[in-house]
Assembly symmetry: C2
Homo-oligomer: 669 residues x 2
Amino acid sequence: MAVATTQSLEELCINSIRFLAIDAVEKAKSGHPGLPMGAAPMAFVLWDRFMRFNPKNPKWFNRDRFVLSAGHGCMLQYALMYLTGYDSVTIDEIKQFRQWGSKTPGHPENFETPGVEVTTGPLGQGIANAVGLAIAEAHLAAKFNKPDLTLVDHYTYVILGDGCNMEGISGEACSLAGHLGLGKLIALYDDNHISIDGSTDIAFTEDVSKRFEAYGWHVLHVENGNTDLDAIHKAIAEAKSVTDRPSMIKITTTIGYGSPNKQNTAGVHGAALGGDEVKLTRENLGWNYEPFVVPEDALNHMRQAVERGASLEAEWNETWAQYKTKYAEEAALFERMLSGKLPENWDACLPTYKPEDKALATRKHSEICLNKIAEVLPELIGGSADLTHSNLTELECSGSFQKGSYENRNLHFGVREHAMGAICNGIALHGSGLIPYGATFLIFTDYMRNAIRLSALSHAGVIWVMTHDSVALGEDGPTHQPVETLASLRAIPQLTVLRPADGTETSGAYKVAVENAKRNRPTLIAFSRQNLPNLAGSSMAGVEKGAYAVVDCDGTPDLILIGTGSEVSLCVKAAEQLSDKKVRVVSMPSWELFEAQDAAYKESLLPKAVTKRLVVEAGVSMGWCKYMGSEGDIIAIDRFGASAPGNVCMEKFGFTVDNVVAKAKALLG
Amino acid sequence: MAVATTQSLEELCINSIRFLAIDAVEKAKSGHPGLPMGAAPMAFVLWDRFMRFNPKNPKWFNRDRFVLSAGHGCMLQYALMYLTGYDSVTIDEIKQFRQWGSKTPGHPENFETPGVEVTTGPLGQGIANAVGLAIAEAHLAAKFNKPDLTLVDHYTYVILGDGCNMEGISGEACSLAGHLGLGKLIALYDDNHISIDGSTDIAFTEDVSKRFEAYGWHVLHVENGNTDLDAIHKAIAEAKSVTDRPSMIKITTTIGYGSPNKQNTAGVHGAALGGDEVKLTRENLGWNYEPFVVPEDALNHMRQAVERGASLEAEWNETWAQYKTKYAEEAALFERMLSGKLPENWDACLPTYKPEDKALATRKHSEICLNKIAEVLPELIGGSADLTHSNLTELECSGSFQKGSYENRNLHFGVREHAMGAICNGIALHGSGLIPYGATFLIFTDYMRNAIRLSALSHAGVIWVMTHDSVALGEDGPTHQPVETLASLRAIPQLTVLRPADGTETSGAYKVAVENAKRNRPTLIAFSRQNLPNLAGSSMAGVEKGAYAVVDCDGTPDLILIGTGSEVSLCVKAAEQLSDKKVRVVSMPSWELFEAQDAAYKESLLPKAVTKRLVVEAGVSMGWCKYMGSEGDIIAIDRFGASAPGNVCMEKFGFTVDNVVAKAKALLG
C-alpha cells in the first residue's frame, strides 16, 4: 500500500478506474482499454463532482443522465458504476466482463445493466440518444415545473469520441440540438486523435470545435485532459452556467494513457495490453495493487455517491410531496406517466368505420388517430423528418417544440431521419412515460435502420409512423418506392410491424402501438398514400391478432386470399367475383402478432388442409412462402418500382381485381 | 413574341428553363417546380459558361460531371438537357414527365436517361456520389496524366439544397472531401430557406458556410442568386481557381421565383402551381409563350452546346491519339478500363484450397483475394470505414489515397459508412472502369443501406466487403452481431449477396463480384471473423451456381443439409456422423445466383421429392421456408445475439455438430 500514499486521493480514484478497465479487458482477452485509460480523469470529475444520481435507485427520476456514446469504452462506465456503488455492477461482474450472462456486456446495454440509460456501441447513436434525453427533460420541465416548485431539473452528459463525431447521425443530432438551444446537454469530446485505423490524420482533419460553433453550440477546450483536473472542472462548471445553448467540451487526451509502449496508438483501442505491458503500465503509474483490487481510500471516497444520492432523492421527494398537495392534477398525470399505465378506456378515442364512410388514405386515418390519442394522452410527442404534411403527423392540440416553447409536442426534426430515430429512442428511454413517434416515408427507414433496430433491442417504446408504403405512391419513382422495405423490417427481432388496410385497422394498429409503447416495445406502422375503402369485415380486435378473416365462407375454404394494407380491399373485391367458390379473405396486418397467437387460432385461420392460398402484397415475396401453402401463389413485386401515377404502377405490377381473380382461378383449376 | 425582345438572351434562356419545369409539372400535376424556378440562373450560368460536355456523346469520357443532389428538382436537369440538345430528353419526353416508360422520371435516374450521371432523390446521396466522382477523376488523373499530355481533367459540379445539407451523409462526405482536398469538386448550394415543412427556421438554423469552412472547404456566397448572374459567374470562376480545396458556393435564391403568390413558400416545393398561378407567373415574368414552347433565340443559343461539345471531344481525341502512340502501355490499360473488359484469365490469380490447407477466417481469405486481384486489376480501388485491420481490406501493392498521393488505391473513409457507400457508387458510375469496394462490419450495412440499395438500382458495379457476419463475432454483443442483416440484404432487388464457406468459395465469390462489377452490378459478400476449415468438396464453379452439393450421396438423398458460410462445415461434419443415411450437403452461398439457374439444375440439386431438409444458418429464418421443403426444419437465430466469446455464442444458439445431427435424426425419424 506504500505507493498509495504517494498518490493523491483523486489519482487513486482515477487509476482505480484505469486498472479496473485494464484488468477486466486482460482477463476477457477482449475489449477496449484505451478509452477508459484516457478518459478516466474527465469521467472521474464528472461523476464525482457534477453528476446527480442515486446508485441505490438507478431509476430515480430526477437523476442526471449519462451516455457513453463511445460505447466500446464501456469498462469506463462499469468501473464508475462499481466504484460509486451500483448493485448491478459488482467486482464479480467486472471479472465476468464480456462473458455469457454477465451484467457487463461488450457495449453498454440498458436492458442488461440497471443504471445504464441507453444502448450504445454503434457510433453516433449515443450522442443522438442524449439529444432525445435532453428534449424529454426540457419538455417535462416546461410542462410540470411551477414557479415555486421545480420537479424536473437534470443535465444530460455525454462522452463521445472521434468515431461518434465522424458519423453523420451525430452531425444531424447536434445541428438540431443547437437549433433547439438545449442548454442542459453537455457533451465531453474525448479528443484523442486515434481511431481504429490509426491517427485521425488519415481521414478526419476537420475543425470539430468550429463545426459545433456553426451548429450554435457553446464550445470549450481542455488542452490537457490527462492530468489537468481543475481545467476539466472549470470547463464543466462553465458549460453548466451557459443555459441557452448545449455545450461541447473538447478534452484533449492520450488514448491508453499510462501504457509506456501503447499509449497514443491504435494498438490500445480494441485489444488487451498484454501481460508485460500491463506490468509496465502498473510500474509507470505506480500501481502496486493486484488485479481487480481497489484501494480502500478510493472506494470509500467514491462510495460517498450512495449517501449523496440518497439525500438528493430525499430532497426531491420532499419537493414531490409538496407538489402533490399543491398541484394535484399535474401530479396525478406525472405519477401515471411514471407508472407506465394508460388511462381507463383510453382507446375509446379510436374511431371505427363503416363501408359507407368516406374512403381515405390510411396516412389520413393515422393523422386522425394521432390527434385523438394526443387529446387523451398528453405524453404523446413526436413529429416528422421534414415531411409533416405528407406523413400527416401534426398534433393540432399543440404547437411546435422550439427554444422557448418546450411545452409543445410537435417535434420538427428536419431532414434528419437517422437522428430522429435515435432521438425518439432517447425520449422513450428517458423513462418518464413519454410516447415518442417519428415519421418519414417508409423507404427512408433505410436512412434510420440502425436506430429502429436499436429501439427493438433496447426496449424503447417508440411508434414509427411510415407513410407512402408501396409503389402506389407513384410519380416519385423507384428511389422513393419501397418494395423490399417491409420484408427488411419484419426481419428485425422484437419489432412489431403493422400494415393496416383501412380506417378501423389503423385504429387497431395504434391501439397495439400505444400499448406496446407502455411495455417498452417499438411498433412500426406502414400507411398508404392513396385512399382505401373501409371494409365491412375489418376490426380492431382482428388487428390485435395479427391476422383474421375479413371475409369468410361456410366450412373449409377452397381458397384463402391473404392480403395486407392496400391490397386487402383488392382481395375482398376479388372474392366477390369468386362467389361460386368458398373463399376466405385473410387480412394480415402483422406477422409478429399472428405468430404470437396460439396454435389453435393459427390452424383455424390458415388450416394446413387448405393448400390453395394466394398472397397479395405490393412488395417483395420474400418470407411469404411461410403462409402461401404448398400449392399457393403470390402477387408481389420482386423488382424495383417505376415513376408513373400510382394507379398506373399498381396496374402494371398486377395489383388489379382482375389479376387477383385470374390468379385465384388458376389455383382453383 | 413581343415580350421576348424586352428580355435579354440570358433571361430568355433562364425563363425557358423555368417554364419548361412549370409546364411539365403542371401537365403531370406532380413534381417540384420550386427548385428549378429558383435555381435556373445558377444552372444556366454553369451549363452555358463553365461545363464541358457533349450532348451528342453523353458518355464522352472527359466531360465535366454534373450531379443534381436535390433530385426532386429534376425538371431543372431535364430542361437543361433538352435545351442543350441531348437526344434522350426531347420535348415530347418532357411532356411525358413522370409518366410510365418516359425518359423523364420523378427523380434523375442514370439507368433511364442517358446523360444523367447518377441516381438522386434520396437526399444527400448526390453530393456524396459527387465526392466519389471527384475521387475517381483525381485518381485517374494521377495515374494516367503525363507532363506533356493531360488525358483526365474535368470538374464535378453539384447543385444541392437545404435538405441535402441537413442529411448526415452529406456531412460525412463533405468532411472527407475537405480532408482529401478535392479541388475540382464544386458544390452550388441553393440556399432558399425552404424545405417541405416550411421555413428552415423551424429546424435548420446552423451556419452552413462556417461548417464547410470547418471541413476545410473554400466557401463563397452569392447574395442574390435570382438575378445577379455576374456574381454567380465570378463565384464559379473563383471556385475553379482554387485547386487545393473543394469549393462550396452558397447561392441565396427564392424558391419558386417568379410566382407572385407562391414564391418563397413550401407550397411551391412539391406541387404544381395551378392554372391561375401559372398564368400570373407568366405575366409576372413577361412570358407570352405557350406551354412547352421555347423561344428560338434561347434554343439556338443553348444548342451551341452541341458544337462546343463536339469540338471539345475532338480536341480530347487528338490528345488521346498522341497519348496512344507515346504511352502505349498506359493507353492500353486506359482503353481496356473504358471498354469494361477484364484481362484474359484474370481469375487465374484466385487461389483454391485443399482440406489440409490452414483454416483461416474468410475475411482473411478475402484479404488474400483482394491483394491478388489488385495485382492483375489496377482498376481495383477501395477501403474501409475505419475498420481496415478488422475487415482486412488493405492493398499491400499501394499506399493511402491522400491529398498529394491520389495515385494510391487504399481509401480511408473514416467512420462514415453511409458516405462510403455513396462515394463507392460515384466511383463506379464515373464510368471509367474503376472497381470500387467498401468495407465495414456486416451489421453496419444498416448505416449505409440506402447507398447499397442505390448501387443495385442505379447499376453501380461496387463490391461490398462485409466482415464479422454472425454472432460468432462474439464479445462485441448484440449491437454488433448481425442476425436479420443477411435476410434484409437478400431482399434488395438486383443485389447479389454471397456468403462463402471457405477459401475456395471466397475466391468464387470474388470471381462473381468482379465480373458483376464489369457488368455494372453490385455484389455484397459476407465474411466470417472466425477461422473455418477448407472443405474437400467446395468449388468456385459451385459458387457461381449459387448453390451446389459440397457433399453428395448415391441416388436420391434421404436428407439434404443446407448451409451457408461458416455453417457449411458444421453440416459437413454432421453428415459424416449420419453415414448410415443418404445425406447430401448443399452449400448455398447465394440465393440470387441459385434462382438464376435453370429449372433442371434446381430440381437436380433440391429435388421436390426430397422433403426432409435441414437448413443451418446463423441468422433469422426469414425466407428460408422457400428451400426448407414441406417436412423441413431450420437451425436459425430468431432473436438478438449476446455478448460472449464467439464459440460460446454459437454453442448457446445451437450451432454445434451435435445439434445439427440431433435435428437431422429427428427429421429422419
